[in-house]
Symmetry: C2
Subunit: 278 residues, 2 copies
């Protein structure tokens, strides 16, 4: 049990520069698809794996594993599989949307020097895991928290991560000899990034808009907008967040002169115009 | 598309203090169950919600919503539901393990001034979402990344988060009027923490051990240990990680004199002794 009386640990905000580091890293993290071939030093890789391993997990079950893939022949087979699934997925879009989809570079399986398959062992420390009786998928959710830790630590190191989901988990399971007890949660391409663009590629390309923050927040029940001071701040944040994150995007405080985004609709909590702005 | 030629954005490691902030925050984040009643200022809440909203999402679909719950009558009903499910879950453990389970304080629904229910709208920007054709649950995974961003930002602010999974999603859906298209992913208790203990409560209580990092990492395929420089560093990290994180746990560099943990078994990638050290 944590101490119940006088706490032995000071529970305060972290120092300003550390706090800023967290926010800046979150803002500057990107789904990276273009990599430099430079290898990742073992010490840096150990740090980002350590960050992943310090994620929260349901009942402290730590259900994750990280399969590091460097072998070129193996990655070439995986790339061929992704190419095939990419064409298959293109059938889900029509007209210009399909053309645009096919124009995107969506992975860096071969460009990145390292791929990581992240799995979730659904039997770990089981069968009874504290907190999983009512929400059985919390082990998968824990694994995703580990992936986000890894992603942020990598960004802080200048290392890009791209999450490739255009592949069939069953195929990858066979290929990497993953046993039935484990689920393939993510396939990541990892390497020094050529750049961390100011905005997500899919936003810049006009594939989908950034939702305004206030649209995503409800009060007391689904669909009820929040109000008061929080609503006003979220409204402002929604207009400003890009400009703010661009102000310092190169780490040297170089200001960008982008105008604020204007909000596109009422606060219904729903995406505007069907969510497509092509 | 991101720039393909000379990059316009410097893709470097972030400044040392920011980078340290990321790692320190990840190490010091805890699943908090004991809260101070102080309200969370709107500006701080907006920052942590903004951090969540800047998570990666499959096809930039941003499927998350955040239902802020403060109403005391509503939280009292939720607490009663959690109490009931906690007793039901206790039946999944036997003997001393059950007694220990029932001794844990597992939530702070009423102690924390704010609860947040995080949902995933499975229809957002759909039906065709880039990257979801082969891995349909990547929208849930994106929502978990948002939760982890929120959790880290909160920690940096001195705000504790506790993820309560001992409740039935279907019950919560009815109670919060969540439509069928959205999935309840998490129910979070949020407030200034009484303390951020040095280790996870379930580790301190001897419920489960921290796995050694090297056990979680494979090379090229499931079950094959990694080797070389990385393996050596991971071995050392596994022994040292607690001591390291304790060295600076109060933010003032106060050193702890804990001995290194010794590793308990061979690198099979499996938890030791069935994973229970009660």
């Amino acid at each position: 049990m944590p101490p119940r009386g006088k706490s032995t640990t000071v529970a305060d905000a972290l120092p300003a520069q550390w706090r800023r580091g967290v926010y800046e890293t979150i803002q500057r993290r990107r789904d990276v698809r273009i990599f430099r071939p430079d290898p990742i030093p073992a010490a840096a890789l150990a740090r980002i794996l350590g960050a992943a391993h310090h994620a929260p997990s349901v009942g402290f079950s730590q259900p994750w594993n990280f399969i590091l893939i460097r072998n070129l022949a193996l990655r070439t087979r995986i790339q061929a599989h992704v190419d095939k699934e990419r064409l298959r997925a293109a059938a889900g879009f029509s007209g210009e949307r399909r053309t645009q989809y096919l124009s995107f570079k969506l992975e860096g399986v071969l460009d990145a020097p390292l791929n990581i398959c992240v799995t979730c062992d659904r039997t770990r420390f089981g069968p009874s895991v504290l907190g999983r009786h009512t929400m059985i998928d919390t082990d998968l959710y824990s694994t995703c928290a580990a992936i986000q830790n890894l992603w942020l630590a990598a960004r802080a190191e200048g290392i890009g991560v791209g999450w490739v989901s255009i592949l069939r988990p069953a195929w990858l399971r066979r290929t990497l000899e993953i046993p039935p007890k484990a689920v393939v949660v993510a396939y990541l391409c990892v390497g020094y990034a050529k750049s961390f663009p100011r905005r997500p590629m899919l936003e810049t390309a006009g594939w989908l808009p950034r939702m305004s923050l206030v649209e995503t927040v409800f009060a007391e029940k689904w669909g009820q907008p929040c109000d008061g001071a929080l609503a006003r701040i979220l409204e402002r944040a929604s207009g400003k967040s890009h400009a703010e994150s661009e102000d310092n995007v190169d780490g040297r405080g170089r200001a960008a002169s982008k105008p604020d985004r204007t909000r596109g609709g009422p606060d219904t909590g729903q995406p505007r115009s069907g969510g497509r702005i092509a």
